[in-house]
Homo-oligomer: 119 residues x 2
Amino acid sequence: MVEKDFSEQEHQAALNHLKESIPTNEELESMVNIFKAFGDMTRVKIILALSKTPLSVGEIADTLDMSQSSISHQLSLLRQLNLVTSVRHGRNIHYRLSDQHIITIFGQTKDHIIEDEND
Amino acid sequence: MVEKDFSEQEHQAALNHLKESIPTNEELESMVNIFKAFGDMTRVKIILALSKTPLSVGEIADTLDMSQSSISHQLSLLRQLNLVTSVRHGRNIHYRLSDQHIITIFGQTKDHIIEDEND
DNA sequence: ATGAAATATGAATGAATGCTCATATATTCA
DNA sequence: TGAATATATGAGCATTCATTCATATTTCAT
């Protein structure tokens, strides 16, 4: 094929710089890790619960009908990723979302799904 | 504890309706599945590549220095989730992002990370 | 100090997942 | 039709991951 239409030329141009335009693993790692965190039903539910009000580990476990240990493990992961923060209040530890971006991302994703279902 | 300050009252109120406010597994499943898809380095790179221009399987494999088979498997998954669409062009199959929401979500997530690093 | 309550943590286990290899399917071209 | 190219797919394997169980740590109340 010798002749190329306009969009084909654009494609070639994009293709030439494509390899360099892809960020490195290091650059992408934090993003991927956050998405990994969101890619689990339990963690999504924890985040949704925390979007309503700060909660102790036990309150989350009760709300989700799951074991204290399991919730604690997941919270530890979410804390490592700076998705939640914790403050001790007496014997309890209050967890809260560390920033509202998280809920925005969830909302955006919901939008994608809804738009998709309308096709 | 008999007396509660205002925020404590709010907490109790939120706690009462919390269990019912958490969506069911079925309602959350598509969101979780999309995040699972985003939670893998290879798939994120595929999506970022496709955000520049539609690409064939081979072009993606070359760009990411990965096997044809691996990329094809991942594209199959992304297609099942309606994140990409494919059109055959001769012997090639052109993949493209199915909707621009995806990139918005990536951007929002990047924002979260950047905000986070500034603390 | 001691016991009880809340949370954290390490090891073990079963399930999910990503890649590879071999092979199948589809399309073009001679 | 038959060879070559592009893509898809199934099985196998190694790794990752979520939960559980047992136990450690921290704090409060007596």
